[in-house]
């Protein structure tokens, strides 16, 4: 589908003496899934933080089409259509599931403070329309029965899906998923995979970061592999899978992973 790419060019980030990300370049195209994998500490989550504005890179740039995202605040980047999820799926505690999704739709509200204070009719109209969309979204994610529940009472799996629903509510063009499959059981993983494919089919560009290597391989159209902050392989998933450097980097991690599962 059409739309600009999200392009990272030579991103570098140091924390004290430690190099977290070094000279990273990759691109996410709309209507595709780009996988980002690598052993623990490879710099994957940092990358998401760098793209979404929570961390400032020391060098390099992030661009979405013509817009330079590098120095923008997180909310502005979200406003441009680049949205992210968090590794620790955080509920907006104290708000109901329904309200959580409404916060996801925050950017759709156009009424100003004055209009709200004077309770102009347009405000209520807008609220109703957005509330309708929120209801639909909850239905689509199967969260409708939980709508009035305080989000902090959800199970881990439910929370993960709420987070994704909430992020999709912000109608992103590019979606950065930070370890979405972590902690989910097999049924939930399958649901998640179907959801992600659905996003791709609707023209969203997805950057999928996860530890579950088979999960990522199964879904992605392109792939980048990181280790110690640098890119060690990139391109077609099948090529990457056969790359000896990648196997080397993962030998220890895979053995650990197999022992764990």
């Amino acid at each position: 589908m059409t739309g600009p790419d999200l392009v990272l060019a030579k991103i570098t980030k140091r924390f004290g003496g430690l190099i977290a990300v070094s000279d990273l370049s990759l691109a996410v195209s709309p209507g595709s899934i780009h996988g980002l994998i690598g052993p623990n500490g490879a710099g994957k989550s940092t990358t998401i933080g760098l793209i979404s504005g929570f961390i400032r890179p020391d060098a390099g740039s992030v661009a979405f089409g013509e817009r330079d995202l590098t120095r923008l605040a997180p909310f502005a980047i979200a406003g441009l259509g680049v949205a992210r999820t968090f590794q620790q799926a955080a509920p907006l505690a104290g708000l109901t599931v329904y309200e959580n999704v409404l916060v996801g739709m925050h950017m759709r509200y156009r009424s100003g403070l004055g209009a709200v204070l004077l309770q102009m009719p347009g405000v209520a109209r807008e609220s109703r329309a957005i509330a309708g969309s929120a209801g639909e979204l909850l239905d689509a994610f199967g969260l409708a029965p939980l709508a009035q529940t305080d989000a902090k009472l959800l199970t881990f799996g439910q929370l993960r899906f709420l987070e994704i629903a909430r992020t999709i509510a912000s109608t992103p063009k590019i979606l950065l998923l930070d370890e979405p499959a972590a902690g989910l059981n097999q049924a939930e993983r399958d649901r998640l995979a179907a959801l992600i494919r659905g996003f791709r089919d609707r023209g969203i560009g997805v950057l999928l970061v996860d530890h579950d290597v088979p999960f990522v391989f199964d879904l992605c159209d392109r792939m980048t592999v990181m280790n110690f902050g640098s890119v060690i392989a990139a391109g077609d998933p099948d090529q990457v899978r056969r790359d000896p450097i990648v196997r080397d980097a993962y030998l220890g991690a895979e053995a650990e992973g197999e022992a764990a599962t």
Binding site: G53, F54, A90, T167, A169
Partner: protein, 309 residues
């Protein structure tokens, strides 16, 4: 208690408050009218803190700073520059807005403890400043003889007229709180309070919303401060000492956050209680504060606190 029950209680509470306010207006004694005027003005400040802390989650001890800008602003502008008291009221509110925007910028970047302490420092610093800046504020003596507000040719200096004015102001404040709390703006503030990063990732301009809450709270506190000084015709540093800083907080926490009933309840309790303790004379203050200490200990959420805590 569950949410629907709570909402019923809240509605009942608001009706009860209205009934009491009307009853006092019609048949209340001079003392009752006086007390309830004070309660209305205190409640305004507590509601402003409810918006800033209860809704947006920003722990600020600095509401007294804006009360002082309103109070001293009204006094100085009317007495020294001869301005109309209403004009002075609004100019002071505007000055508070300016201070809030300037001071808020660096302070609201702080979180948790830092913000609490910085705003506490601002509040106590304000107290020190108005006590020391004698050329402007008349130092620790204060300024007396502040002229009352007037509505056309009607001078609003009768107790009843000020009572009505104060409760109208309080009512408007409650309305502002309710309207904001129930809108997407209030929801965004709650999101900032409970998950700042998540909110930012969803497109909420966190800095702007914190600043907005801070600014609105400042303006409300300033108006309350001005009205109070107009009411008593006097302003002095002791109005804004550590006791008052603590008082505003205690009123909010004892009354309960999250609705308009709590602040009024808290304001009423903490305004009336010292009078019931008056019999204890010199022990009055001590007993009062010990009572509050224990109350918060037992009940950190407050009487009419939020459902979840």
């Amino acid at each position: 208690m569950s949410e629907p029950i709570r909402r019923k209680l809240e509605r009942a509470g608001l009706v009860a408050i209205l009934a009491v306010v009307v009853a006092v207006a019609i048949g209340g004694s001079r003392l009752a009218v006086y007390n309830f005027t004070i309660i209305a003005l205190q409640a305004m400040v507590v509601i402003s803190l409810n918006l800033l802390l209860g809704l947006a989650g920003q722990v600020s001890f600095a509401q007294t700073t804006f009360m002082a800008v309103g109070g001293y602003g009204s006094a100085v502008l009317t007495l020294r520059l001869g301005l109309n008291p209403w004009l002075a009221l609004f100019i002071s509110a505007f000055m508070s807005l300016a201070v809030a925007l300037v001071v808020g910028r660096p302070l609201l970047r702080l979180r948790g403890h830092y913000l609490a302490m910085a705003t506490f420092a601002l509040a106590l610093g304000t107290y020190s400043f108005v006590g020391a800046a004698t050329p402007l504020t008349n130092g620790s003596i204060g300024i007396s003889g502040v002229p009352p507000l007037a509505l056309g040719s009607l001078s609003l200096d009768s107790p009843l007229s000020f009572y009505v004015l104060s409760w109208i102001a309080c009512g408007l404040t409650m309305l502002v709180y309710a309207v904001i709390a129930n809108s997407y703006i209030g929801r965004a503030m709650r999101a900032v309070a409970t998950g700042q990063d998540v909110a930012a990732a969803l497109g909420v301009n966190v800095t702007a919303y914190k600043g907005l809450a801070f600014a609105i709270a400042a303006v409300i506190a300033s108006l309350a401060g001005s009205l109070y000084v107009e009411f008593t015709s006097f302003v002095g540093p002791d109005l804004y000492d550590i006791g008052m800083v603590v008082n505003v907080f205690l009123m909010l926490f004892i009354g309960g956050r999250g609705s308009n009933v709590g602040p009024i309840l808290g304001a009423a309790l903490l305004t009336m209680a010292p009078q019931y303790l008056a019999g204890l004379e010199q022990f009055q203050n001590l007993v009062f504060f010990v009572f509050l200490l224990v109350l918060i200990l037992v009940w950190p959420a407050g009487i009419f606190g939020p459902v979840r805590n």
